[in-house]
């Protein structure tokens, strides 16, 4: 592997990146160039835009980061795969694949699973077709443009029609070293009637190094396909995280999408689910747990484009210290979305008087025969519960951990994969701090 000089994301760094990737198909290089041009001509989003009003990125300086490969593969331990028999796994560091495995019988059935950089070369047609769908717009904003021009990491999963993958697939990506960046694209395509479970997690090698993740996730489910998708974001609190994520759920297909958002100094994630065929179904689960000065902003969007679809979203956030969460959720029902059944709920648990939670549910409905409801609550830890637990011999921290776990139980109950429940519980437990005396 040649060491390329990528000092930040200037033109020479971009050219160096292209030079290092001459094996890529031509359509891809051209696409990178187009997006780079757009990137160069566009300004960062600013606080005057409604979407960014609550998320201040003036302190984000792209030139402090570089997408240079890591000196060595990362080794921070995975949580989601603990005790799970996997059908395939991918490990990567700073957006470069370190390891990629897939059970031979799955490969024989035509399943493609690997680091996107490699798959783009080996299965150029499949990747080109997936990209051409434009599930996530490469020109949505400057982050999307940067990602589309400079991505190196990410996972590609394609499951042919009718193939059921019983064992979960796992992907872990790590960030290591000061100023490290991971620009990634994840693409999941399930053919008609295909089934799979994909567990993804991201984390930092240490608690101190500043990092950047700029990623996209694109999911396409064919008729009657079923996907369980878990993404656990557990970076250190000095990582900037910008992402555009979208799933298109086809006729009679089912998606269960669980997000664990624990890390990042600042996260700004757009997570969209589009129900594009009749009778499609999506369940979205979100767990946010923050500390310090973390700022996590998740914009969710449930788009009912067809009739008889169901979507059910539950986001729960617990906040410590001076941290802040912003959840903006929208249910949009097109005129064609008759007989929609859509639900969204956001609950916030305030563990500190200095924390702040913004909750902005929204409904935009153009069909008249629908059932759309949403709810939101914010509250605090009940002192009586803490005293009760402490009277039983628990420390204050243990008591808080129990209460936080209880608060998240409603989401955990919806997660059908044991290892994910346990991993989330463990990751949250590690971040629980002693609650100051009231």
């Amino acid at each position: 592997m040649t060491a390329i000089a990528e000092s930040g994301f200037d033109t020479s760094a971009f050219e160096a990146l292209l030079n290092d990737r001459t094996a890529e198909p031509k359509w891809l290089s051209q696409r990178r160039r187009d997006s780079w041009k757009a990137f160069e001509q566009t300004a960062w989003p600013n606080g005057k835009e409604e979407e960014w009003m609550r998320t201040d990125i003036r302190l984000f300086k792209l030139d402090k980061f570089s997408s240079a490969p890591a000196a060595q593969p990362g080794s921070a331990a995975a949580l989601l795969s603990h005790g799970v028999e996997l059908g395939g796994r991918i490990e990567s560091t700073n957006g470069r694949t370190d390891l990629s495995e897939l059970d031979a019988d799955l490969a024989e059935q035509g399943v493609i699973f690997g680091g996107l950089s490699q798959v783009a070369i080996e299965h150029s047609d499949a990747v080109e077709k997936a990209f051409a769908r434009g599930v996530v717009s490469p020109t949505y904003d400057r982050f999307a443009m940067l990602n589309d021009a400079c991505w190196t990491g990410g996972v590609f999963l394609q499951v042919p029609k009718g193939v059921h993958i019983e064992k979960p697939l796992h992907a872990i990506s790590r960030l290591g070293g000061e100023g490290a960046a991971d620009l990634s694209k994840t693409v999941v395509v399930l053919g008609d009637g295909a089934e799979a479970t994909l567990l993804m997690e991201t984390l930092s090698e240490d608690a101190i190094a500043a990092g950047l993740h700029n990623g996209t996730i694109e999911i396409v489910l064919g008729r009657g396909a079923k996907l369980r998708f878990v993404s656990l974001q557990n970076w250190n609190n000095r990582t900037w995280h910008f992402a555009h994520q979208k799933a298109c759920v086809g006729r009679e297909a089912q998606l269960q999408w669980t997000i664990g958002a624990l890390g990042a100094r600042l996260a700004k994630v757009n997570q969209q689910v589009a129900l594009v065929g009749p009778d499609a179904e999506a369940q979205v689960n979100g767990v946010m747990f923050t500390q310090g000065k973390q700022h996590l902003c998740y914009n969710t969007h449930q788009h009912h484009e067809a009739a008889y679809c169901r979507s059910d979203l539950l986001y729960k956030a617990a906040l410590q210290d001076q941290s802040r969460t912003v959840w903006r959720g929208m249910i949009k029902v097109d005129e064609a979305g008759q007989r929609t059944d859509a639900y969204q709920r956001n609950d916030n648990l305030m563990l500190s008087k200095d924390a702040r939670a913004d909750s902005i549910p929204g409904l935009e409905i153009e069909a008249d025969d629908v059932r759309c409801t949403h709810g939101s609550t914010s509250g605090r830890v009940d002192d009586h519960q803490i005293f009760y637990a402490m009277a039983r011999g628990f420390t204050r921290q243990e008591a808080v951990r129990m209460i936080v776990t209880g608060f998240f139980q409603q989401v955990f109950d919806r997660i059908t994969i044991d290892s994910v429940r346990e991993a989330l519980g463990e990751a949250i437990g590690a971040r629980v701090q002693d609650l100051p005396n009231q």
Partner: protein, 477 residues
């Protein structure tokens, strides 16, 4: 310089063109002879002219000019509804008559006819305390029962208050809603005219609702009334504002500012029934500050206008303050009601409630946009927000945008919303009892908005039901 500001003969006759339209009780035109009419458009000269016509003190002129600068520097809002206003094609000031009417007999005949059709005199004869009817920009008729005056209640138009109660007015004017707040508050601050000024002294409880009707009756004419209500400690008031307007073919703009202070243990209820013509932009800023143990209630019904953007707010400034907001929106063809409410908890143990109900039909769009905010330090704050929307046909649209911002831990904020259509079972049941589908739908809608109607004074409840019936006509089948 002063000669430049004199109106021309053309200006004086500009409103005389009769406009033919289908007449019904809420859709009619009365001819008026404007005594003075400013030119269209807005600039510093127009603002100076308005101030000079009113004989205002320097500080008010300075306030207007500063506000004009702010108006010009602020961009149009990019959210809410589509606003397509040519600010240069609007009259910012129109004075319909030379004198304030002292008695009913003094009010010009054509204005009386307009009011007769709205039923104001009858309402007054019955049991109203005072009527402030705003016809175009100035208050032309006002009466206030003498016993209220004896108790020290001040109820006058805001222009008069600038002259007669300058110190009291200046203490609060533009302090609750500064001109910087938003583009339309700035516009109002620059060109405001009319509106009510009310002061209720400590402990005085006004038993009956004070009413005012506002109307737009000149094509392309803006209406920029400015209301300030001060409810002193332990005092109580219920203020009712109702609007109906004739139909016109070009856009008109209504942009009011309403500021309210409710001091310790005071109570204020402010009721609006907005039924502007369907070509009017209704962009209004309403905000109240409630102090210790005070109660502020907004009851806000929006039926008319092309686009309404209005979010009455209660800032709960001291412990025990309460805010209650009831918002009802009904939008039909070509209408967008972007209405809602704001509750801001700034002190401990404050509590608030928002109930929003909206109905969309014939391609109308109803949006609830609200804010529930708990500032740091507002421990024990409680808020409850419930939004229900009814959509009557597939062409219509309903949106809900309930913002919630919590900066404290010991709080309880709840929000629930639902959107649905009229249940077929309900319809079937009512129709099996012999009602037509239209009657059954109308009955269900009436039930849906009952929480608003039952809070209204009786004659308003009657009018409200009549308006709903009119809105519902032809909605089914």
């Amino acid at each position: 310089m002063a000669t430049d500001t004199m109106p021309s003969a053309e200006d004086l006759n500009a409103t005389d063109e009769a406009v033919l339209s289908d007449i019904n009780k809420y859709d009619f035109i009365t001819q008026t002879t404007g005594v003075f009419k400013a030119r269209k458009g807005i600039n510093a000269d127009i603002v100076r002219q308005i101030s000079e016509m009113k004989g205002e003190p320097q500080w008010m002129l300075d306030f207007r000019l500063r506000s004009l600068e702010i108006f010009e520097s602020k961009p149009m809002p990019k959210w809410g509804g589509a606003i397509n206003i040519d600010f240069d094609d609007i009259y910012y000031y129109l004075k319909p008559t030379d004198h304030q009417g002292k008695t009913w007999e003094d009010v010009p005949q054509e204005i009386k006819e307009t009011f007769d059709r709205l039923g104001i005199p009858e309402a007054e004869r019955k049991y109203l305390a005072g009527v402030k009817a705003q016809f175009e920009s100035e208050v032309v008729y006002g009466s206030l029962q003498e016993d209220l005056a004896e108790k020290g209640v001040i109820f006058t138009d805001t222009d008069t208050a600038v002259r007669e109660h300058p110190e009291l007015l200046r203490e609060y004017f533009g302090k609750i809603i500064p001109p910087e707040d938003n583009k339309f508050a700035a516009l109002n601050s620059a060109v405001w005219s009319g509106g009510s000024f009310i002061y209720v002294p400590p402990g005085v409880k006004i038993e009956f609702p004070l009413q005012a009707y506002f109307r737009i009756n000149a094509e392309s004419m803006g209406q920029f009334e400015r209301t300030l209500i001060i409810v002193d400690e332990g005092a109580e008031i219920h203020y009712v504002e109702g609007c109906t307007a004739p139909m016109y073919s070009t856009e008109s703009l209504h942009s009011a500012v309403v500021e309210i202070i409710v001091k310790k243990n005071g109570r204020c209820r402010y009721t609006t029934i907005q039924n502007w013509a369907n070509n009017i932009y209704n962009l209004v800023t309403k905000r109240a500050m409630a102090y210790q143990d005070a109660l502020m209630e907004w009851i806000d019904g929006n039926l008319g206008s092309q686009l309404t953007m209005k979010y009455p707010a209660v800032y709960m400034m001291e412990p025990g303050a309460r805010g209650e907001i009831l918002s009802i929106a009904f939008s039909s063809k070509g209408q967008h009601q972007d209405a809602g409410a704001k509750l801001v908890h700034c002190a401990p143990n404050t509590s608030g409630r928002i109930i929003s109900k909206s109905i969309s039909k014939n391609g109308g769009r109803s949006s609830y946009r609200g804010l529930c905010k708990v500032e740091e330090g507002a421990t024990g704050a409680k808020s409850n927000v419930v939004c229900d929307a009814l959509i009557l046909d597939p062409q219509s649209r309903s949106d809900t945008y309930p913002y919630i911002e919590v900066e404290e831990q010991q709080v309880q904020i709840e929000h629930e919303a639902s959107v649905s259509r009229i249940g077929e079972e309900q319809l079937f049941y009512l129709m099996s009892r012999g009602l037509s589908e239209a009657e059954a739908s109308s009955m269900i809608v009436s039930g849906f908005i009952e929480p608003l109607v039952k809070e209204l004074p009786m004659e308003y409840a009657v009018e409200m039901n009549r308006l709903i019936e009119l809105q519902m006509e032809g909605s089914v089948g």
